[in-house]
């Protein structure tokens, strides 16, 4: 497993270059209030083992292959100059040979082969999102920036948030919390309406083990945003992904509850583990250990969920919908 994500300051500052966008998903009801469009950025400074969007980890473009969609017409093989495609390959694409020329993509009639990550301009993103404004307005929704980690592209993100807000859209950022604070304060904070902040693991060693980086900066950033929220300068919602055996342990959840109370944030959103992602790594040629484990294939039983919620409720922390 690679943990080679660079977390030094320079890397976190981001660039003004257009980032790669994985997808813009319309009609989301799970990523903030109302009906929303979610812009997924590619690239993340963390590398969580349970990541539901494994294709969002790397910053560069990738190719994915969905065996279920393939109609075995072999048109892609004729189009591939590198000879990287064959049903004999374990995941169809020989990623050693593939040089990401993407000539197979238009040749594939069924969409089984897809390019993951496309450059999009601020205007391109906004044009697509704004089409649904009438739905946002009727439902109190708006646009959500998610990923990956949008703050890896802080200047770009800043411009995007400002134009979206300028167009009358409610803006929401979903972040893993690992970002450069100063850049955030100047570029994002003045413009963003709401931040959903993921808190995964409080224990530093475990965080490094499961998320591939230290959590020191994340916790520091959380404290900072919590203070701003307490002053009413920011609408902040901490979110905890419940991953059985990793984040959803008694010890970790208690520690998170304590952290929230310390920072005067008496509410939290719990994200129940969804096992439907476990086929996704294979599409981009990744066979990791966690997604193939038996335990990763199951939903959390509702009595366990109740128990987890009680850990927070006991301390007077409200579970939001």
């Amino acid at each position: 497993m690679t943990t080679g994500t660079n977390t030094n300051r320079k890397a976190l500052l981001g660039t003004a270059d257009p980032p790669l966008i994985l997808d813009i998903k319309g009609n989301s009801l799970d990523d903030g209030p109302g009906i929303r469009s979610v812009v997924f950025f590619k690239g993340c400074p963390l590398s969580c083992v349970w990541c539901h969007n494994p294709e969002s980890k790397k910053r560069g473009p990738e190719i994915s292959f969905s065996p279920d969609d393939c109609v075995r017409c072999n048109a892609c093989m004729d189009a591939c100059p590198a000879g990287a495609l064959s049903g004999e390959n374990p995941f169809y694409i020989d990623r050693e040979k593939c040089d990401l020329c993407f000539r197979c993509i238009p040749a594939c009639p069924s969409g089984a082969l897809e390019q993951v990550g496309r450059e999009m301009t601020e205007k391109g993103i906004l044009d697509q999102v704004i089409r649904d404004k009438v739905f946002f307005d009727a439902s109190g929704g708006g646009v959500t920036f998610s990923g990956g980690e949008p703050t890896l592209h802080m200047p770009f993100l800043s411009g995007l948030i400002q134009s979206a807000a300028g167009a009358g859209l409610h803006t929401l950022l979903e972040t893993c919390g690992l970002f450069d604070r100063e850049a955030f304060d100047t570029l994002v904070l003045p413009h963003i309406h709401t931040v959903y902040f993921d808190i995964k693991i409080v224990d530093a060693a475990l965080h490094r083990q499961y998320c591939g980086a230290s959590n020191a900066k994340i916790l520091e950033n959380f404290r900072h945003l919590a203070a701003l929220a307490a002053e009413g300068r920011l609408d902040l919602l901490p979110r905890v992904p419940l991953v059985p055996g990793i984040t959803a342990t008694e010890a970790n959840l208690s520690a998170i509850a304590a952290l929230l109370l310390e920072n005067n944030i008496p509410f939290v959103k719990l994200l129940a583990y969804n096992p439907l992602w476990t086929q996704k790594p294979l599409k981009i040629g990744v066979k990791d250990k966690f997604s193939s484990e038996k335990a990763s294939q199951d939903w959390i039983p509702s009595q366990d969920l109740d128990r987890m919620e009680r850990i927070f409720r006991k301390k007077g922390i409200e579970i939001t919908d």
Partner: protein
Amino acid sequence: MFQSPLSENRPSPGLSPTHILVKVLLKIMAACFNLRPSLRKSLESDTGWIDYSAAIKTRSGSVSACIRFSLGRASVTGTAPADADICLVFKSDRQVRRFLTASPTEQIYMILKNDFYTRGNAACLNLFVYCISLLLNKQQVKMMARERLKDRKQVLKSSPGPGTGLSEALKARAEERLTGNREDPGVRYLEDPYLPEFSLQDFPRLAGFLDSHFETRAEVCPELPELMTEWHRKNGYETDPGGKAWNPVLRKGHCYKYIMENRRPFIHANDLIAGTTTTKEVGVVVYPEGHGTMIWGELFTVPHRSLNPYDVSPGTREILHHKVFPYWANRNFKEWVREKYDNPLCQQIDERFAVYFDWKSVTISHTIPDFPKILRLGTRGIIAEIEDEMRGDTDEDRTATRQAMILCLEGLETYSRNLAAQASGEISGTKDPARRAELENLSRICTRVVSGPASTLEEAVNAIWITWVGVHMESTNAGMSLGRLDQWLQPYFIRDMEKISDPEGQKRYIRHAVELIGCFMMRCTDHLPLTPDFANYYFGGSSSDQAITLGGVTPEGDDGINDMTYIFLKVTEMLGLRDPNVNARFTPGKNSDTYLKRLCEVNLITTATPSIHNDRAIWRSLEQYNYAMEDLRNWSATGCVEPTLSGRHMGHTNFQMISLVAALEMALNNGRHPLMDWELGPRTGQVEEGAFSSFDRFFKAFEDQMRFLIDQSIRYNELLAEAHQELRPTPLLSTLISDCIKTGKDVTRGGARYNSSGAACIGLADITDSMLVIKKLVFDDRAVTFRELKEAIDGNFEKNPGLHAMVTRKVPLFGSGDPGAVAMANRITRFVHGTYNSYTNYRGGKYTAGFWSMSNHVAYGTLCGALPSGRLKGKPFTPGLTPQPGASDSLLDNLRDVAALEPENMSNNIAFNVKVVPAADESRERTVENMAAYVASYFQLGGMQMQMNVVTSDMLRDAMAHPENYRNLLVRISGYNAYFVTLNRDMQRELIERAEYRI
């Protein structure tokens, strides 16, 4: 230019062994009738022998035989004579042999799929089937039972145990109820307009009725056709007893009066409403001059069929077979046209099922009577108005028409009086003092109405019901609609409430009003349309489609939401009936969010009703016709969704169902229709011969074919209209549609102030997608040649998985949010609308186009090959104009594209289905808010109509296998509602395969 079916042109290869088989079987049949006295007796009608001949042949002539019944004797000949009353023409010997061993259901599919077609009198076909059934009904019934068992095993295989908690989850929906704000200015008395305090358990009377609704088997009722036949046998049909030609309107007036005076007045047990449409608990009404004889062939088997079985008592069978049907075999709409116009091409096409179905072969009915008028004036007042008009008018025709109107009103009055007498007659035999009081009250009510004006809510509701029964004794129970009952009843509710001063008394009265409206809606379920088994597969599960319209604005343009609006919604929520079909109007900028949210909540609880219309888009669609604004504001949904200007408009809004896709298939085949194997349309060019050098040329070929089909279907409608004027004028209805009294013209002859005829055009999304694929892949990108695409279509894409993947994945389809797709859909609707609009109907109004499909998107799909859109052979089209499930993952793309269609081209309205599923962990409040947000946004973008099915495919699958847990599971097909478990399998599967969006 047009050729007859191929049968006429093929050389005879000589007689085949099948021929001998057929001849032997017919001889056995003849021998049975000749030798067995009981069978011979069945060839006798009340007035003499039933003579007819039935022939069986193949297109090539390899089989050709005929059985003739004459003067009570049967004989067989080895050739099919040209003058046989009915001839079954089979594609080939193979189909004949299959037919001989097929079950009744398989035979229906054979006729749908054009394995054979019939020429000649359809009533005689049914008589022939009846005669076969006389011999074989025991075997037929066994066969049907076997079929049912096999089917049951099959569905149980896929879903052996009932799904856990699914049906319970549905039932539990009604247990949680939101509270509402009192913000609508028209709501005067309801403290919480959502009335969350009430549930069905609070109304044992209604709960009992509902239970009986689900548990009672419908029964064919012979009362109406028997009375009709009696009167006509005595007084003549074509000529009066003096030998003078009858004025058809006057004849109808006399006959109607006789019916109303002699039908039995029933007060249904424990009911607050007097009168019934039939003599049965749930009756199937037989209209002999309409499609009544279609049930002739099934009189033995109809109780045993899988879909919508009805009971038929031996007595009823006797009456219908011996007394009624022989009299009407030639006196019905279809046969009248066949005889007078020599079975014209337009009729032949209709009877092949794959292209269009003209509803006038069954009925007109689709309109909204002026109920406020009868409430205001009573029959006495209306008669006075008619007499006023008669004074000084010497015109014979107008006078006869007005006389007929008076006769009808008198008949209605008599029926009402008979009900009053019946109610008081029942008092003495009733022990329960509460019920005695109710009967006394009913007797009082029926004495006052319908002859006089209504003065209380109870009187008004009873007057509407009695009138409703009345119009159904005049024309078929299919699509006749009730209109804006909340608007029309509110004044009576207010008047009653004003008389009550104490708050407790007011509360009690509101409860009573809910119960009364509940009784009314339940009463509307006391009859079913006569559905031949064939129609179960062609139409499927439709009841009478008695649309009620709620909400919107008043004729003056003010917010129309009132107490009665919410009372009707409460009843709709508690009963969850498929029929009446509840439609809600929403006027953006006038109607409140509270109201919209309540519509969504009722939709969520009932899973499928009401359907919701955007007033502003409807008005925009109707602007072109110069209707008065106050009348536009007063529109009501008719049958499924179609707009009628209440009480002033005869819009026969479902004059036909037409498949747009048939025209595409014909354009792809140079005018030949593949399934019918018929060189039917104009020669517009052969794809294989490179006839189309541009997309526009191909589009023109489609237009030419469509124009041809529309033209033919309209011709048939006009001929059937003439049949209606002769066979079934509707003078009672005419008194309730302005300006018939004034003009002295029956509504079937153009007496209404506004006239139009509305079509339902089916397959818009399939056509649009197919055109998009042809345009992009063949002409724009040149990714495939037209010939290759055509070859793939002809082979059902079986050898072209790559091409199939390309057409389904690589072309932005209608509903994907692509402006090009919307432009294509608008191009098609503009053309279709323009074509209809170029015709003026026999009543002087315009033809209009709508894009909804009832259930025919399934049947027409069955009869259609693969399409350029990638839809495979035999699969259903999409319901109404709903985008296909693969168009987009986002519901918003669907909503945006449908909303972008130009209402001007869709003035007979649309049906846009959306299947939404609330997330299990979402609160009721948020789910309802989300639903309301979708509707509000869609309307803001210009959308006309939308209807939500709030069910999961898992629930539907579970219901398919375990219908016993889902007797009341309501689904919206396309415009109308049905109980899912009563639908045929194809339709059930279509509902399951619809796109499902989480909300």
